[in-house]
């Protein structure tokens, strides 16, 4: 075990790390399954049902590795949380931050998925500014900053909100275990397809 692993364990605890993984893995799995279900008719129409299952299997394996990356980021974010907080509260806060970040990633993809064009009036207005790119970066930083700080603020202030979020993450973790079983099935399918 490396020093960084030990640090993570000391801060989150083994159970905390496992729960944080489940919380971190949920959004990406939900998105993967959602997109695959939209895709499956398209894929089946173009290839064969067996190939569509194969695409889903590779997708789930990719989602698993994606989850590991997100989890690692979340665990490192958790190191920023004060040690004064109990493990439970730290997990709630780290999990919330992970969801905010993945929420932004999802928002970008949903925007791309629906292909909504940038309103032409807004583009025209931006074109009139002296530093439109700088302005856009500024707006982005403000939006991201607010979206991160607001949940932190409310979670710090409200014990009731912390309990509700913790309970919600508990239910999500249970569902995520089912998704992990799907991942394992996906991995088996990938192996079988490549033997």
């Amino acid at each position: 075990m490396t020093r960084s692993d030990e640090t993570l364990r000391q801060v989150h605890g083994a159970d905390g790390l496992w729960r944080l993984f489940l919380i971190s893995a949920f959004p990406t799995h939900l998105w993967t399954i959602f997109l695959f279900l939209i895709d499956v008719a398209w894929i089946t129409e173009r290839t064969k049902p067996g190939d569509a299952v194969g695409v889903g299997a590779y997708g789930l394996v990719a989602a698993f590795f994606d989850s590991l990356g997100i989890f690692l980021g979340g665990a490192l974010l958790g190191l920023l949380v004060s040690p004064k907080w109990g493990a439970h509260a730290r997990l709630t806060l780290a999990g919330s931050l992970v969801w905010v970040v993945t929420g932004w990633a999802l928002a970008l993809q949903v925007y791309g998925y629906f292909g909504a064009p940038f309103p032409s009036r807004l583009i025209g207005w931006l074109g009139g500014l002296s530093q439109p790119v700088l302005f856009l970066y500024g707006v982005e930083w403000i939006l991201v900053g607010v979206s991160v700080l607001l949940p932190v603020y409310f979670l710090l202030r409200s014990e009731r909100l912390r309990r509700w979020v913790a309970g919600f993450f508990e239910r999500v973790s249970l569902l995520m275990i089912f998704y992990l079983l799907l991942d394992a099935t996906g991995l088996i399918i990938v192996v079988l397809r490549n033997i």
Binding site: D39, T47, Y58, Q109
Partner: protein, 514 residues
């Protein structure tokens, strides 16, 4: 090994490494000794409607038109379906889709047909095959036992994603599709949230730069992008295919049968620099036609978009035409054409009308089905124009017949004019089938099928949830070549025998099974 080395070696392999297998086979006593070569060149999604020879308003094929002065030109030649798998399988097996059963995009032919193809029909020839198109390559893999030199499709791509190329070689196509959906951001969405972002920002740009830097000269030749296959890294140029084919055939010392399936002018339409915008402002408008109930789910285009897409397609055809001209001159220069029957055709067409662009739709209009067929016999002087209806399934028996080879019992086509011995007035029906959801072992129930007999063409759609009842269309192509005026409601008696013949074929296929 670099690309040029491979091209040279592939040619040598054809001669030295693999030839013994071909020539050591004992020839059946009843077969005439093979003397002449056969070369079938397929350009994917090549619609005959875009040929000036067919009255098209653009000079898209100046080289082919010129070379056709010494060829047989088939003006009413029909593919068996409107996309690669069934179209190519019919061309290669000489059977209709309900017989070979490769209905879906990545299907293979059923059972016996793995040993019933153009390649098995020429056992004494050295048999060489290549396809840019992954789905045609799947079919060629099916026939591998009868092919002496089967070049993997990626060998003629000058670039591919180095991170993917060797990860899952046994499941390459599905893995590549999954990679596109899970990691690539080309469609602005991907299954993964973090990996796709990291890949797009950290891996993809340097990879693209690396490919661009390594092939700067090629990229400079293609200002709209280099022709690509399944993803943005699988890049190829037709020039490499032509060079490889010319070199491989030049090194053959005995009779050969070669099948080369090149992807252009299949989309994405990426013409070479000198052809870009050649047709941008020539004022040839897309004919406005009504949409079709079965096309509502497709990506619908405005007339302006269709005009732009069609112009690019036509410019891509110019590229195909130029490279075919170069191939022809290479072969003539090497003396190969003195003893080779050269066939130029396609697996299906392409359409830019009724608000859609492309192919593989549940409709069977002329631009999707009518494909070029040119046969360049050795020593041919003068052009022969054939206006009879001819079909993709007729190519195989024709090539066998002109080589004095027996036509196998399983071939469903007949020898093409002017080589046929059909009685005067005997005409073929040209049929086509689109049933892209039907597994090989299943009954054909949801499908579109067409039959052309003389000037009349009937199209039949059944099994679609969008249609309350089967839909029948009837056109008189002599009076209405654009298929604008559906005559079925007023001419049901005329449609009846066509409908009976069409449904009879499908019913028979369903009764006999695969």
């Amino acid at each position: 090994m670099n690309r040029r080395d491979f091209l040279k070696l592939a040619g040598l392999a054809g001669l030295g490494l693999l030839a013994p297998r071909a020539f050591m086979q004992a020839a059946p006593a009843h077969l005439a000794a093979p003397k002449q070569n056969v070369l079938v060149v397929v350009f994917d999604a090549f619609s005959f409607r875009h040929f000036a020879l067919d009255g098209y308003g653009r000079e898209t094929t100046p080289n082919i038109d010129r070379l056709a002065r010494n060829a047989i030109v088939y003006h009413n030649h029909y593919a068996a379906s409107n996309f690669t798998t069934p179209g190519t399988a019919s061309l290669l097996t000489g059977t209709m889709p309900w017989t070979h059963r490769a209905h879906r995009l990545a299907d293979t032919v059923t059972g016996d047909f793995r040993r019933r193809s153009l390649f098995s029909a020429f056992p004494q020839h050295h048999r060489i095959a290549y396809s840019h198109n992954p789905f045609a390559a799947i079919l060629l893999d099916d026939f591998f036992e009868d092919i002496d030199l089967l070049v993997p499709r990626k060998e003629l791509y000058f670039s591919q994603n180095k991170y993917l190329s060797s990860l899952f070689p046994k499941d390459d196509d599905v893995f590549n599709l999954a990679w596109d959906r899970a990691i690539e951001q080309e469609s602005s969405k991907s299954y993964t949230l973090l990996l796709s972002q990291l890949y797009e920002r950290l891996v993809s740009p340097p990879l693209a730069s690396e490919i661009g830097a390594a092939h700067r000269e090629i990229f400079a030749q293609f200002p709209l992008g280099v022709p690509a296959v399944q993803n943005r890294y699988e890049l190829f140029i037709l020039e490499d295919g032509v060079d490889w084919l010319s070199e491989t055939l030049r090194l053959q010392s005995g009779p050969f049968v070669s099948y080369a399936h090149f992807l252009p002018p299949h989309e994405p339409y990426k013409p070479r620099r000198e052809f870009v915008d050649r047709f941008a402002v020539d004022g040839l408008p897309v004919r406005e036609k009504p949409n079709h109930p079965l096309l509502q789910k497709q990506a619908l285009h405005t007339v302006q978009e269709l005009n732009a897409l069609r112009s690019r397609y036509d410019e891509f055809i110019l590229y195909v035409d130029a490279e075919f001209g170069r191939l022809y001159e290479n072969l003539r220069g090497a003396g190969i054409l003195e003893n080779t029957w050269l066939v130029l055709t396609s697996d299906h067409g392409e359409m830019f009308e009724r608000q859609v662009a492309g192919h593989r739709f549940p409709v069977l209009y002329e631009p999707l089905l009518r494909v070029p067929l040119f046969i360049f016999p050795p020593g041919q002087q003068g052009r022969i124009d054939v206006d009879d209806l001819t079909r993709a399934i007729d190519v195989l028996p024709t090539l066998l017949s002109i080589n004095d080879q027996p036509i196998p019992f399983w071939a469903e086509g007949s020898v093409l004019p002017p080589f046929d011995r059909l009685a005067a007035g005997t005409a073929r029906d040209a049929l086509a089938l689109f049933s892209s959801n039907t597994p090989p072992e299943a009954q054909i129930q949801k499908y579109s099928a067409s039959i052309r007999r003389g000037d009349w063409k009937l199209i039949y759609h059944t099994g679609y949830p969008e249609l309350a009842a089967p839909r029948i269309e009837l056109y008189n192509l002599k009076n209405d070549p654009e298929e604008l005026d559906d005559l079925y409601p007023a001419n049901q008696a005329r449609a009846a025998p066509l409908l009976e013949a069409l449904i009879g074929q499908i019913t028979l296929a369903n009764q006999t099974g695969p």
